[in-house]
Protein backbone atom coordinates (compact mmCIF):
# COMPACT_ATOMS: atom_id res chain seq x y z
CA UNK A 1 0.00 0.00 0.00
CA UNK A 2 1.23 3.44 -0.79
CA UNK A 3 1.21 6.24 1.76
CA UNK A 4 -1.77 7.79 -0.01
CA UNK A 5 -4.00 4.74 0.15
CA UNK A 6 -3.02 3.77 3.68
CA UNK A 7 -3.65 7.31 4.95
CA UNK A 8 -6.99 7.42 3.12
CA UNK A 9 -7.92 4.09 4.66
CA UNK A 10 -6.96 5.27 8.14
CA UNK A 11 -9.05 8.45 7.79
CA UNK A 12 -12.06 6.67 6.31
CA UNK A 13 -12.02 4.06 9.09
CA UNK A 14 -11.76 6.82 11.66
CA UNK A 15 -14.78 8.52 10.12
CA UNK A 16 -16.92 5.40 9.93
CA UNK A 17 -16.22 4.65 13.58
CA UNK A 18 -17.03 8.16 14.73
CA UNK A 19 -20.69 7.97 15.63
CA UNK A 20 -21.11 11.72 16.01
CA UNK A 21 -19.55 12.38 12.60
CA UNK A 22 -21.87 9.82 11.05
CA UNK A 23 -24.80 11.40 12.83
CA UNK A 24 -24.03 14.97 11.81
CA UNK A 25 -23.12 14.26 8.22
CA UNK A 26 -25.81 11.69 7.39
CA UNK A 27 -28.59 11.23 9.93
CA UNK A 28 -29.01 14.83 11.01
CA UNK A 29 -29.57 16.19 7.48
CA UNK A 30 -31.81 13.19 6.76
CA UNK A 31 -33.93 14.15 9.75
CA UNK A 32 -34.46 17.53 8.10
CA UNK A 33 -35.30 15.82 4.86
CA UNK A 34 -37.92 13.69 6.60
CA UNK A 35 -39.28 16.73 8.40
CA UNK A 36 -39.45 19.10 5.46
CA UNK A 37 -39.98 16.63 2.68
CA UNK A 38 -42.32 14.42 4.67
CA UNK A 39 -44.54 17.18 6.00
CA UNK A 40 -44.83 18.97 2.72
CA UNK A 41 -45.14 15.88 0.61
CA UNK A 42 -48.13 14.80 2.69
CA UNK A 43 -49.68 18.09 1.94
CA UNK A 44 -48.78 17.89 -1.68
CA UNK A 45 -50.04 14.44 -2.43
CA UNK A 46 -53.31 14.57 -0.57
CA UNK A 47 -55.80 16.15 -2.87
CA UNK A 48 -57.45 19.36 -1.87
CA UNK A 49 -61.20 19.29 -1.81
CA UNK A 50 -63.14 22.18 -3.29
CA UNK A 51 -66.85 22.65 -3.79
CA UNK A 52 -68.22 23.60 -7.10
CA UNK A 53 -71.39 25.60 -6.61
CA UNK A 54 -73.83 25.35 -9.48
CA UNK A 55 -72.48 25.19 -12.99
CA UNK A 56 -68.80 26.13 -13.44
CA UNK A 57 -68.00 25.44 -17.09
CA UNK A 58 -64.38 26.49 -16.65
CA UNK A 59 -63.72 23.78 -14.09
CA UNK A 60 -65.57 21.15 -16.07
CA UNK A 61 -63.55 21.94 -19.17
CA UNK A 62 -60.29 21.22 -17.42
CA UNK A 63 -61.47 18.78 -14.79
CA UNK A 64 -59.51 15.91 -16.32
CA UNK A 65 -56.16 17.52 -15.50
CA UNK A 66 -57.27 19.09 -12.27
CA UNK A 67 -58.29 15.71 -10.91
CA UNK A 68 -54.68 15.15 -9.79
CA UNK A 69 -54.74 18.20 -7.62
CA UNK A 70 -58.30 18.99 -6.67
CA UNK A 71 -61.13 16.85 -5.54
CA UNK A 72 -64.27 18.51 -6.77
CA UNK A 73 -67.56 18.12 -4.89
CA UNK A 74 -70.74 19.56 -6.29
CA UNK A 75 -73.41 21.51 -4.51
CA UNK A 76 -76.24 23.85 -5.36
CA UNK A 77 -76.41 25.67 -2.04
CA UNK A 78 -73.96 28.63 -1.94
CA UNK A 79 -74.52 29.35 1.77
CA UNK A 80 -73.93 25.74 2.87
CA UNK A 81 -70.81 25.58 0.70
CA UNK A 82 -69.39 28.74 2.29
CA UNK A 83 -70.08 27.31 5.73
CA UNK A 84 -68.06 24.21 4.85
CA UNK A 85 -65.14 26.40 3.81
CA UNK A 86 -65.34 28.27 7.08
CA UNK A 87 -65.22 25.05 9.03
CA UNK A 88 -62.20 23.86 7.07
CA UNK A 89 -63.89 20.80 5.55
CA UNK A 90 -63.03 22.00 2.10
CA UNK A 91 -60.45 24.46 0.90
CA UNK A 92 -62.59 26.63 -1.35
CA UNK A 93 -66.00 27.11 -2.83
CA UNK A 94 -66.07 28.01 -6.48
CA UNK A 95 -68.86 29.43 -8.56
CA UNK A 96 -69.02 31.01 -11.97
CA UNK A 97 -71.30 33.78 -13.18
CA UNK A 98 -70.92 34.54 -16.83
CA UNK A 99 -67.18 35.09 -17.35
CA UNK A 100 -66.38 35.79 -13.69
CA UNK A 101 -65.02 33.00 -11.55
CA UNK A 102 -65.70 33.51 -7.86
CA UNK A 103 -63.63 31.80 -5.18
CA UNK A 104 -64.38 31.71 -1.47
CA UNK A 105 -61.54 30.63 0.71
CA UNK A 106 -60.61 30.65 4.38
CA UNK A 107 -57.79 32.74 5.75
CA UNK A 108 -57.19 30.02 8.32
CA UNK A 109 -55.42 27.81 5.81
CA UNK A 110 -53.46 30.25 3.73
CA UNK A 111 -51.09 27.76 2.26
CA UNK A 112 -53.75 25.49 0.82
CA UNK A 113 -56.10 28.24 -0.24
CA UNK A 114 -53.19 30.01 -1.85
CA UNK A 115 -52.40 26.85 -3.76
CA UNK A 116 -55.97 26.43 -4.91
CA UNK A 117 -56.10 30.03 -6.01
CA UNK A 118 -52.92 29.52 -7.94
CA UNK A 119 -54.40 26.51 -9.66
CA UNK A 120 -57.58 28.35 -10.52
CA UNK A 121 -55.74 31.37 -11.81
CA UNK A 122 -53.96 29.12 -14.20
CA UNK A 123 -57.20 27.51 -15.29
CA UNK A 124 -58.47 30.96 -16.12
CA UNK A 125 -55.30 31.95 -17.87
CA UNK A 126 -55.45 28.87 -20.02
CA UNK A 127 -59.05 29.40 -20.88
CA UNK A 128 -58.10 32.91 -21.96
CA UNK A 129 -55.30 31.58 -24.09
CA UNK A 130 -57.97 30.08 -26.36
CA UNK A 131 -57.79 26.50 -25.29
CA UNK A 132 -54.83 24.84 -26.93
CA UNK A 133 -54.95 21.34 -25.35
CA UNK A 134 -51.18 20.90 -24.90
CA UNK A 135 -50.86 24.06 -22.88
CA UNK A 136 -52.94 22.62 -20.12
CA UNK A 137 -50.74 19.67 -19.30
CA UNK A 138 -47.63 21.82 -19.41
CA UNK A 139 -48.84 24.30 -16.82
CA UNK A 140 -50.18 21.58 -14.55
CA UNK A 141 -46.64 20.29 -14.39
CA UNK A 142 -45.42 23.69 -13.33
CA UNK A 143 -47.92 23.85 -10.51
CA UNK A 144 -46.52 20.64 -9.11
CA UNK A 145 -42.92 21.87 -9.21
CA UNK A 146 -43.46 25.28 -7.77
CA UNK A 147 -45.61 24.68 -4.81
CA UNK A 148 -46.75 21.15 -4.41
CA UNK A 149 -43.76 18.87 -4.31
CA UNK A 150 -41.64 20.37 -1.59
CA UNK A 151 -39.25 17.44 -1.79
CA UNK A 152 -38.06 18.72 -5.16
CA UNK A 153 -36.88 21.91 -3.56
CA UNK A 154 -35.87 20.51 -0.21
CA UNK A 155 -33.57 17.76 -1.46
CA UNK A 156 -30.95 19.82 -3.34
CA UNK A 157 -30.92 22.47 -0.60
CA UNK A 158 -30.51 20.05 2.26
CA UNK A 159 -28.02 17.99 0.31
CA UNK A 160 -25.79 20.99 -0.35
CA UNK A 161 -26.02 21.94 3.32
CA UNK A 162 -25.16 18.38 4.42
CA UNK A 163 -22.19 18.23 2.07
CA UNK A 164 -20.98 21.68 3.14
CA UNK A 165 -21.26 20.76 6.79
CA UNK A 166 -19.60 17.37 6.36
CA UNK A 167 -16.66 18.78 4.42
CA UNK A 168 -16.11 21.82 6.65
CA UNK A 169 -16.37 19.89 9.92
CA UNK A 170 -14.31 16.98 8.63
CA UNK A 171 -11.47 19.21 7.53
CA UNK A 172 -11.54 21.43 10.63
CA UNK A 173 -11.70 18.54 13.08
CA UNK A 174 -9.00 16.53 11.34
CA UNK A 175 -6.63 19.46 11.19
CA UNK A 176 -7.04 20.42 14.82
CA UNK A 177 -7.02 16.94 16.36
CA UNK A 178 -4.10 15.88 14.21
CA UNK A 179 -2.24 18.94 15.33
CA UNK A 180 -3.23 18.45 18.97
CA UNK A 181 -2.33 14.77 18.92
CA UNK A 182 0.85 15.54 17.01
CA UNK A 183 -0.03 13.21 14.17
CA UNK A 184 0.95 16.01 11.80
CA UNK A 185 4.43 16.07 13.35
CA UNK A 186 4.65 12.32 13.26
CA UNK A 187 3.78 12.40 9.56
CA UNK A 188 6.38 15.07 8.97
CA UNK A 189 8.94 12.66 10.39
CA UNK A 190 7.90 9.91 8.00
CA UNK A 191 9.03 9.97 4.38
CA UNK A 192 5.58 11.04 3.19
CA UNK A 193 4.94 13.99 0.93
CA UNK A 194 2.56 16.71 2.07
CA UNK A 195 0.71 16.02 -1.19
CA UNK A 196 -0.15 12.49 -0.06
CA UNK A 197 -1.47 13.73 3.26
CA UNK A 198 -3.58 16.51 1.77
CA UNK A 199 -4.60 14.35 -1.18
CA UNK A 200 -5.78 11.57 1.11
CA UNK A 201 -7.84 14.00 3.17
CA UNK A 202 -9.40 15.54 0.04
CA UNK A 203 -10.11 12.12 -1.41
CA UNK A 204 -11.77 10.94 1.78
CA UNK A 205 -13.93 14.07 1.97
CA UNK A 206 -15.07 13.61 -1.61
CA UNK A 207 -15.90 9.95 -0.97
CA UNK A 208 -17.89 10.94 2.12
CA UNK A 209 -19.76 13.62 0.15
CA UNK A 210 -20.66 11.11 -2.55
CA UNK A 211 -21.88 8.65 0.09
CA UNK A 212 -24.03 11.45 1.53
CA UNK A 213 -25.39 12.19 -1.94
CA UNK A 214 -26.20 8.55 -2.65
CA UNK A 215 -28.01 8.10 0.68
CA UNK A 216 -29.85 11.38 0.29
CA UNK A 217 -31.06 10.75 -3.21
CA UNK A 218 -31.91 7.18 -2.29
CA UNK A 219 -34.09 8.22 0.62
CA UNK A 220 -35.70 11.15 -1.17
CA UNK A 221 -36.57 8.92 -4.13
CA UNK A 222 -38.52 6.53 -1.92
CA UNK A 223 -42.19 6.52 -2.97
CA UNK A 224 -43.11 8.16 0.34
CA UNK A 225 -41.09 11.27 -0.51
CA UNK A 226 -41.36 10.95 -4.26
CA UNK A 227 -38.34 12.88 -5.51
CA UNK A 228 -38.27 12.97 -9.31
CA UNK A 229 -34.75 13.50 -10.58
CA UNK A 230 -34.39 15.16 -13.94
CA UNK A 231 -32.41 13.66 -16.79
CA UNK A 232 -29.19 15.52 -16.10
CA UNK A 233 -28.98 14.90 -12.36
CA UNK A 234 -25.51 13.39 -12.82
CA UNK A 235 -24.21 16.88 -13.36
CA UNK A 236 -24.74 17.28 -9.61
CA UNK A 237 -21.69 15.05 -9.01
CA UNK A 238 -19.07 17.55 -10.22
CA UNK A 239 -21.00 20.27 -8.37
CA UNK A 240 -20.91 18.22 -5.16
CA UNK A 241 -17.18 17.62 -5.57
CA UNK A 242 -16.51 21.32 -6.17
CA UNK A 243 -18.64 22.20 -3.13
CA UNK A 244 -16.73 19.67 -1.03
CA UNK A 245 -13.40 21.25 -1.96
CA UNK A 246 -14.65 24.75 -1.19
CA UNK A 247 -16.10 23.83 2.19
CA UNK A 248 -13.03 21.78 3.09
CA UNK A 249 -11.05 24.97 2.55
CA UNK A 250 -13.47 26.80 4.86
CA UNK A 251 -12.95 24.02 7.42
CA UNK A 252 -9.19 24.35 7.06
CA UNK A 253 -9.41 28.08 7.76
CA UNK A 254 -11.52 27.34 10.85
CA UNK A 255 -9.03 24.65 11.89
CA UNK A 256 -6.10 26.98 11.33
CA UNK A 257 -7.62 29.70 13.50
CA UNK A 258 -8.94 27.46 16.27
CA UNK A 259 -6.92 26.22 19.20
CA UNK A 260 -9.09 23.25 20.07
CA UNK A 261 -11.37 20.82 18.26
CA UNK A 262 -14.39 22.33 20.01
CA UNK A 263 -13.47 25.82 18.87
CA UNK A 264 -12.89 24.55 15.33
CA UNK A 265 -16.33 22.99 15.06
CA UNK A 266 -17.81 26.11 16.65
CA UNK A 267 -16.20 28.34 14.06
CA UNK A 268 -17.23 26.00 11.25
CA UNK A 269 -20.80 26.04 12.58
CA UNK A 270 -20.77 29.81 12.84
CA UNK A 271 -19.86 30.03 9.17
CA UNK A 272 -21.93 27.23 7.67
CA UNK A 273 -25.22 27.48 9.53
CA UNK A 274 -26.09 31.16 8.86
CA UNK A 275 -24.83 30.67 5.33
CA UNK A 276 -27.24 27.76 4.88
CA UNK A 277 -30.17 29.94 5.91
CA UNK A 278 -29.12 32.92 3.81
CA UNK A 279 -28.37 30.74 0.80
CA UNK A 280 -31.81 29.16 0.73
CA UNK A 281 -30.81 25.65 1.80
CA UNK A 282 -33.78 25.37 4.14
CA UNK A 283 -36.26 27.92 2.86
CA UNK A 284 -36.59 29.10 -0.74
CA UNK A 285 -35.18 32.55 -1.31
CA UNK A 286 -37.82 33.40 -3.93
CA UNK A 287 -39.99 35.02 -1.29
CA UNK A 288 -37.09 36.80 0.43
CA UNK A 289 -36.59 40.56 0.04
CA UNK A 290 -34.53 41.70 -2.90
CA UNK A 291 -31.52 42.83 -0.86
CA UNK A 292 -31.27 39.40 0.73
CA UNK A 293 -31.34 37.72 -2.65
CA UNK A 294 -28.54 40.00 -3.76
CA UNK A 295 -26.58 39.40 -0.57
CA UNK A 296 -26.90 35.65 -0.92
CA UNK A 297 -24.67 35.79 -4.00
CA UNK A 298 -21.58 36.29 -1.84
CA UNK A 299 -22.04 32.81 -0.38
CA UNK A 300 -20.61 29.81 -2.21
CA UNK A 301 -23.45 27.70 -0.81
CA UNK A 302 -26.02 29.79 -2.69
CA UNK A 303 -24.33 28.93 -5.98
CA UNK A 304 -24.02 25.29 -5.06
CA UNK A 305 -27.75 25.24 -4.23
CA UNK A 306 -28.58 26.98 -7.45
CA UNK A 307 -26.55 24.59 -9.55
CA UNK A 308 -27.97 21.52 -7.83
CA UNK A 309 -31.55 22.76 -8.20
CA UNK A 310 -31.01 23.48 -11.88
CA UNK A 311 -29.64 20.10 -12.82
CA UNK A 312 -31.37 17.83 -10.33
CA UNK A 313 -34.98 18.96 -10.43
CA UNK A 314 -35.42 21.84 -12.86
CA UNK A 315 -34.23 19.70 -15.73
CA UNK A 316 -31.79 22.26 -17.09
CA UNK A 317 -28.94 21.17 -19.30
CA UNK A 318 -25.55 20.24 -17.80
CA UNK A 319 -23.98 23.24 -19.53
CA UNK A 320 -26.23 25.64 -17.69
CA UNK A 321 -24.64 24.63 -14.37
CA UNK A 322 -21.11 25.43 -15.56
CA UNK A 323 -21.16 29.07 -14.40
CA UNK A 324 -22.25 27.98 -10.91
CA UNK A 325 -19.56 25.28 -10.93
CA UNK A 326 -16.97 27.89 -11.86
CA UNK A 327 -18.14 30.28 -9.14
CA UNK A 328 -18.02 27.55 -6.46
CA UNK A 329 -14.50 26.57 -7.55
CA UNK A 330 -13.37 30.19 -7.58
CA UNK A 331 -14.59 30.59 -4.01
CA UNK A 332 -12.69 27.40 -3.16
CA UNK A 333 -9.49 28.74 -4.67
CA UNK A 334 -9.62 32.02 -2.78
CA UNK A 335 -10.47 30.33 0.52
CA UNK A 336 -7.71 27.77 -0.01
CA UNK A 337 -5.20 30.60 -0.29
CA UNK A 338 -6.45 31.98 3.02
CA UNK A 339 -6.26 28.47 4.52
CA UNK A 340 -2.61 28.22 3.48
CA UNK A 341 -1.91 31.52 5.21
CA UNK A 342 -3.35 30.37 8.53
CA UNK A 343 -2.05 26.78 8.37
CA UNK A 344 0.13 25.65 11.28
CA UNK A 345 1.97 22.35 11.72
CA UNK A 346 2.25 22.84 15.43
CA UNK A 347 0.55 24.50 18.35
CA UNK A 348 3.73 26.29 19.31
Amino acid sequence: MTAFTSLSRAMLLGWFRDRSALFFSILFPLMFLVLFGGVFSDMGTSKMTVIQVGQVPLLEQSAAGLGDVLEIQKSDDPAAAREKVKEGDVVAAISQQGDALQVFYSAADQVRSGTVQGVLRQVVAQANAAGVPQRFTMSAQQVEDDSLKAIQYVTPGLLSWAVAMGAAFGAAATLVTWREKRILRRLRLAPVSLGSVVGARVGVSVVIALIQTAIFLGVASLPYFGLQLSAYWWMSIPLIIAGTLTFMAIGLVAGGLAKSAEAASGIANLIVLPMAFLSGSFIPLDAAPGWLQTLSNVFPLKHLNQGLLDVMVRGQSPLSALPELGIVLAFGLVISLIAMKVFRWDDV
Binding site: A3, S6, A10, L13, G14, D18, I183, R188, L189, A190
Partner: protein, 301 residues
Protein backbone atom coordinates in the same frame (compact mmCIF):
# COMPACT_ATOMS: atom_id res chain seq x y z
CA UNK B 1 32.63 2.94 15.45
CA UNK B 2 32.02 6.51 14.31
CA UNK B 3 29.78 9.24 15.57
CA UNK B 4 26.27 8.95 14.20
CA UNK B 5 25.13 12.28 15.56
CA UNK B 6 27.29 15.37 15.77
CA UNK B 7 25.79 18.50 17.26
CA UNK B 8 27.86 21.65 17.33
CA UNK B 9 27.05 24.89 19.18
CA UNK B 10 23.31 24.65 18.68
CA UNK B 11 21.26 27.73 19.51
CA UNK B 12 17.54 28.39 19.38
CA UNK B 13 15.58 31.15 21.06
CA UNK B 14 11.92 32.04 21.24
CA UNK B 15 11.65 35.77 21.78
CA UNK B 16 13.76 36.51 24.83
CA UNK B 17 13.86 32.89 25.97
CA UNK B 18 17.00 31.01 25.04
CA UNK B 19 15.60 27.49 24.81
CA UNK B 20 18.86 26.04 23.55
CA UNK B 21 21.98 28.05 24.26
CA UNK B 22 25.12 26.63 22.71
CA UNK B 23 24.71 22.88 22.94
CA UNK B 24 27.39 20.54 21.56
CA UNK B 25 27.62 16.77 21.84
CA UNK B 26 28.12 13.68 19.75
CA UNK B 27 26.61 10.24 19.93
CA UNK B 28 28.50 7.09 18.99
CA UNK B 29 27.04 4.29 16.92
CA UNK B 30 25.17 1.79 19.08
CA UNK B 31 25.26 4.07 22.10
CA UNK B 32 22.41 4.64 24.55
CA UNK B 33 22.54 8.39 25.01
CA UNK B 34 20.43 10.31 27.47
CA UNK B 35 19.56 13.99 27.78
CA UNK B 36 18.56 14.61 31.35
CA UNK B 37 17.11 17.71 32.90
CA UNK B 38 14.09 19.25 34.53
CA UNK B 39 11.08 20.44 32.50
CA UNK B 40 11.93 23.49 30.44
CA UNK B 41 15.65 22.71 30.34
CA UNK B 42 15.62 22.61 26.52
CA UNK B 43 15.84 18.84 26.10
CA UNK B 44 12.86 18.50 23.79
CA UNK B 45 13.80 21.50 21.66
CA UNK B 46 17.31 20.07 21.25
CA UNK B 47 15.89 16.69 20.28
CA UNK B 48 13.44 18.25 17.82
CA UNK B 49 16.23 20.15 16.10
CA UNK B 50 18.26 16.95 15.79
CA UNK B 51 15.25 15.08 14.39
CA UNK B 52 14.62 17.84 11.85
CA UNK B 53 11.31 19.12 13.23
CA UNK B 54 12.72 22.58 13.95
CA UNK B 55 15.33 24.79 12.43
CA UNK B 56 18.14 25.96 14.67
CA UNK B 57 18.98 29.67 14.83
CA UNK B 58 22.64 28.76 14.55
CA UNK B 59 24.96 25.79 14.93
CA UNK B 60 25.17 22.58 12.94
CA UNK B 61 23.62 19.16 13.23
CA UNK B 62 24.72 16.08 11.36
CA UNK B 63 22.83 12.80 11.63
CA UNK B 64 24.27 9.78 9.78
CA UNK B 65 26.30 12.24 7.74
CA UNK B 66 23.21 14.19 6.64
CA UNK B 67 21.60 17.47 7.61
CA UNK B 68 18.15 16.97 9.11
CA UNK B 69 16.95 20.47 8.07
CA UNK B 70 15.37 21.12 5.62
CA UNK B 71 13.26 17.96 5.72
CA UNK B 72 15.33 15.16 4.28
CA UNK B 73 13.30 12.11 3.22
CA UNK B 74 16.44 9.99 2.84
CA UNK B 75 17.33 10.55 6.47
CA UNK B 76 13.75 10.05 7.65
CA UNK B 77 13.75 6.40 6.56
CA UNK B 78 16.74 5.74 8.82
CA UNK B 79 15.53 7.37 12.01
CA UNK B 80 12.61 6.34 14.18
CA UNK B 81 10.87 8.88 16.36
CA UNK B 82 8.56 8.41 19.27
CA UNK B 83 6.98 11.71 20.15
CA UNK B 84 6.21 13.06 23.58
CA UNK B 85 2.45 12.65 23.19
CA UNK B 86 1.34 9.31 21.84
CA UNK B 87 0.27 10.41 18.41
CA UNK B 88 -2.17 7.90 16.99
CA UNK B 89 -4.81 8.06 14.32
CA UNK B 90 -8.23 8.31 15.89
CA UNK B 91 -10.36 5.23 16.38
CA UNK B 92 -7.93 2.77 14.83
CA UNK B 93 -6.93 -0.44 16.56
CA UNK B 94 -3.35 -1.12 17.61
CA UNK B 95 -2.83 -3.35 14.56
CA UNK B 96 -4.31 -0.78 12.17
CA UNK B 97 -2.12 1.95 13.67
CA UNK B 98 1.13 0.11 13.20
CA UNK B 99 0.15 -1.14 9.75
CA UNK B 100 -0.66 2.42 8.69
CA UNK B 101 2.70 3.66 9.92
CA UNK B 102 4.45 0.67 8.33
CA UNK B 103 2.96 1.42 4.94
CA UNK B 104 4.19 5.02 5.15
CA UNK B 105 7.68 3.49 5.02
CA UNK B 106 6.76 0.80 2.50
CA UNK B 107 7.03 -1.93 5.14
CA UNK B 108 4.86 -5.04 4.75
CA UNK B 109 1.98 -5.81 7.11
CA UNK B 110 3.64 -9.01 8.26
CA UNK B 111 6.61 -7.08 9.62
CA UNK B 112 4.25 -4.67 11.37
CA UNK B 113 2.42 -7.54 13.08
CA UNK B 114 5.75 -9.03 14.20
CA UNK B 115 6.75 -5.71 15.67
CA UNK B 116 3.51 -5.67 17.65
CA UNK B 117 4.48 -9.05 19.09
CA UNK B 118 7.96 -7.83 19.92
CA UNK B 119 6.59 -5.14 22.22
CA UNK B 120 4.17 -7.64 23.74
CA UNK B 121 0.93 -6.30 22.33
CA UNK B 122 -0.31 -9.25 20.22
CA UNK B 123 -3.28 -9.73 22.50
CA UNK B 124 -4.16 -6.02 22.24
CA UNK B 125 -4.01 -5.97 18.43
CA UNK B 126 -7.75 -5.39 18.04
CA UNK B 127 -8.06 -2.84 20.85
CA UNK B 128 -8.57 0.78 19.77
CA UNK B 129 -5.43 2.79 20.59
CA UNK B 130 -7.48 5.12 22.80
CA UNK B 131 -8.30 2.25 25.12
CA UNK B 132 -4.73 1.07 25.70
CA UNK B 133 -3.21 1.77 29.11
CA UNK B 134 -0.41 4.32 29.41
CA UNK B 135 2.32 1.68 29.27
CA UNK B 136 0.69 -0.16 26.37
CA UNK B 137 0.26 3.10 24.50
CA UNK B 138 3.95 3.91 24.93
CA UNK B 139 4.94 0.46 23.76
CA UNK B 140 2.72 0.78 20.68
CA UNK B 141 4.21 4.20 20.03
CA UNK B 142 7.71 2.73 20.25
CA UNK B 143 6.71 -0.16 17.99
CA UNK B 144 5.50 2.41 15.44
CA UNK B 145 8.86 4.17 15.69
CA UNK B 146 10.74 0.90 15.12
CA UNK B 147 8.63 -0.67 12.40
CA UNK B 148 10.90 0.40 9.54
CA UNK B 149 14.03 -0.86 11.31
CA UNK B 150 15.76 2.50 11.80
CA UNK B 151 19.43 2.94 12.72
CA UNK B 152 18.70 5.62 15.30
CA UNK B 153 15.72 5.79 17.62
CA UNK B 154 14.69 9.03 19.33
CA UNK B 155 12.53 8.74 22.41
CA UNK B 156 11.11 11.83 24.06
CA UNK B 157 10.28 11.13 27.70
CA UNK B 158 8.92 7.66 27.02
CA UNK B 159 8.19 6.81 30.65
CA UNK B 160 6.43 10.04 31.63
CA UNK B 161 3.20 9.33 33.51
CA UNK B 162 3.75 5.57 33.75
CA UNK B 163 3.31 3.55 36.91
CA UNK B 164 6.47 1.93 38.33
CA UNK B 165 5.76 -1.53 36.95
CA UNK B 166 5.06 -0.18 33.46
CA UNK B 167 8.26 1.85 33.64
CA UNK B 168 10.33 -1.25 34.46
CA UNK B 169 8.75 -3.13 31.55
CA UNK B 170 9.47 -0.21 29.26
CA UNK B 171 13.10 -0.09 30.40
CA UNK B 172 13.52 -3.76 29.52
CA UNK B 173 12.13 -3.03 26.06
CA UNK B 174 14.44 -0.04 25.58
CA UNK B 175 17.51 -2.05 26.65
CA UNK B 176 16.55 -4.73 24.18
CA UNK B 177 16.26 -2.16 21.37
CA UNK B 178 19.74 -0.93 22.21
CA UNK B 179 21.11 -4.47 22.46
CA UNK B 180 19.85 -5.09 18.91
CA UNK B 181 22.53 -2.63 17.82
CA UNK B 182 20.46 0.52 17.43
CA UNK B 183 21.61 3.90 18.60
CA UNK B 184 19.08 5.23 21.10
CA UNK B 185 18.73 8.86 22.11
CA UNK B 186 16.38 9.50 24.99
CA UNK B 187 15.27 12.54 26.92
CA UNK B 188 14.05 12.10 30.44
CA UNK B 189 13.54 14.01 33.60
CA UNK B 190 13.94 10.88 35.69
CA UNK B 191 17.39 10.61 37.22
CA UNK B 192 17.02 6.90 37.94
CA UNK B 193 15.96 6.23 34.36
CA UNK B 194 19.06 7.91 32.97
CA UNK B 195 21.26 6.12 35.49
CA UNK B 196 19.77 2.75 34.77
CA UNK B 197 19.63 2.92 30.96
CA UNK B 198 22.16 5.31 29.50
CA UNK B 199 25.76 4.67 28.49
CA UNK B 200 26.33 8.40 28.61
CA UNK B 201 24.15 11.20 29.79
CA UNK B 202 24.14 14.94 29.17
CA UNK B 203 22.74 16.93 32.08
CA UNK B 204 20.90 19.98 30.77
CA UNK B 205 19.57 23.03 32.52
CA UNK B 206 18.56 26.44 31.13
CA UNK B 207 19.40 25.46 27.56
CA UNK B 208 22.98 24.43 28.33
CA UNK B 209 24.73 21.13 28.91
CA UNK B 210 26.20 21.25 32.41
CA UNK B 211 27.96 17.93 32.42
CA UNK B 212 28.35 15.01 30.03
CA UNK B 213 29.62 11.51 30.72
CA UNK B 214 28.79 8.03 31.93
CA UNK B 215 26.40 8.21 34.89
CA UNK B 216 28.79 6.31 37.17
CA UNK B 217 31.67 8.64 36.28
CA UNK B 218 29.56 11.71 36.97
CA UNK B 219 28.49 10.37 40.34
CA UNK B 220 31.96 9.21 41.27
CA UNK B 221 33.46 12.57 40.39
CA UNK B 222 31.26 14.03 43.04
CA UNK B 223 32.45 14.48 46.61
CA UNK B 224 29.02 13.64 47.82
CA UNK B 225 27.80 12.15 51.03
CA UNK B 226 26.71 8.56 51.49
CA UNK B 227 23.43 8.11 53.29
CA UNK B 228 23.11 5.31 55.82
CA UNK B 229 19.69 4.74 57.33
CA UNK B 230 18.43 2.41 59.99
CA UNK B 231 15.14 1.97 61.75
CA UNK B 232 14.10 4.65 64.22
CA UNK B 233 14.56 3.41 67.79
CA UNK B 234 17.54 1.19 67.15
CA UNK B 235 19.79 4.17 67.75
CA UNK B 236 19.11 7.55 69.29
CA UNK B 237 19.97 10.69 67.38
CA UNK B 238 22.53 11.61 70.01
CA UNK B 239 24.40 8.33 69.92
CA UNK B 240 24.23 8.34 66.13
CA UNK B 241 25.86 11.78 66.02
CA UNK B 242 28.51 10.64 68.45
CA UNK B 243 29.14 7.50 66.42
CA UNK B 244 29.36 9.32 63.09
CA UNK B 245 31.76 11.92 64.35
CA UNK B 246 32.06 15.56 63.35
CA UNK B 247 31.02 16.70 59.85
CA UNK B 248 28.24 14.17 59.55
CA UNK B 249 24.54 14.98 59.56
CA UNK B 250 21.92 13.02 61.47
CA UNK B 251 18.23 13.16 60.75
CA UNK B 252 15.28 11.29 62.23
CA UNK B 253 12.00 11.46 60.34
CA UNK B 254 10.19 9.09 62.68
CA UNK B 255 10.65 6.09 60.42
CA UNK B 256 14.38 5.95 59.98
CA UNK B 257 17.45 7.58 61.34
CA UNK B 258 19.65 8.75 58.44
CA UNK B 259 23.31 9.51 58.80
CA UNK B 260 24.89 11.48 56.00
CA UNK B 261 28.68 11.06 55.96
CA UNK B 262 31.66 11.39 53.64
CA UNK B 263 33.41 8.56 55.51
CA UNK B 264 30.99 5.64 55.22
CA UNK B 265 33.62 3.01 56.12
CA UNK B 266 34.10 4.44 59.61
CA UNK B 267 30.36 4.69 60.31
CA UNK B 268 29.64 1.20 59.00
CA UNK B 269 32.47 -0.29 61.09
CA UNK B 270 31.14 1.42 64.20
CA UNK B 271 27.63 0.15 63.48
CA UNK B 272 28.97 -3.37 62.92
CA UNK B 273 30.73 -3.28 66.28
CA UNK B 274 27.38 -2.54 67.93
CA UNK B 275 25.70 -5.26 65.88
CA UNK B 276 23.29 -2.78 64.26
CA UNK B 277 23.67 -3.81 60.61
CA UNK B 278 20.30 -5.60 60.37
CA UNK B 279 17.92 -3.78 58.00
CA UNK B 280 20.48 -1.12 57.22
CA UNK B 281 20.30 0.85 53.95
CA UNK B 282 23.28 2.44 52.27
CA UNK B 283 22.81 4.82 49.35
CA UNK B 284 25.62 6.39 47.42
CA UNK B 285 25.36 9.63 45.48
CA UNK B 286 22.92 9.71 42.55
CA UNK B 287 22.60 11.88 39.49
CA UNK B 288 20.32 13.98 41.64
CA UNK B 289 23.30 14.87 43.77
CA UNK B 290 25.23 15.67 40.61
CA UNK B 291 22.48 18.04 39.56
CA UNK B 292 22.37 19.60 43.01
CA UNK B 293 26.10 20.01 42.94
CA UNK B 294 26.07 21.58 39.47
CA UNK B 295 23.21 24.01 39.91
CA UNK B 296 23.21 24.56 43.64
CA UNK B 297 19.52 23.76 43.73
CA UNK B 298 17.48 20.68 44.47
CA UNK B 299 16.46 18.63 41.45
CA UNK B 300 12.77 18.85 40.71
CA UNK B 301 11.50 17.00 37.69
Amino acid sequence: MGSTIIVNDLRKHYGQVRAVDGVSFSVEEGEFFGILGPNGAGKTTTLEIVEGLREADSGTVEVLGMRPWPRNAKLLTRIGVQLQATSFFERLTAREQIRTFASLYGVAHKKADEMLGQVGLEDKADTPAERLSGGQGQRLSIACALVHDPDIVFLDEPSAALDPQARRNLWDLLRQINDDGRTVVLTTHYMDEAESLCDRVAIMDDGRILELGAPATLVRGLEAVTRISLETGTLTVESAAELAGPGASVDDDGVSVTIGTDDPARVLTALAERNLLTGIQVRGATLEDVFLNLTGREYRA
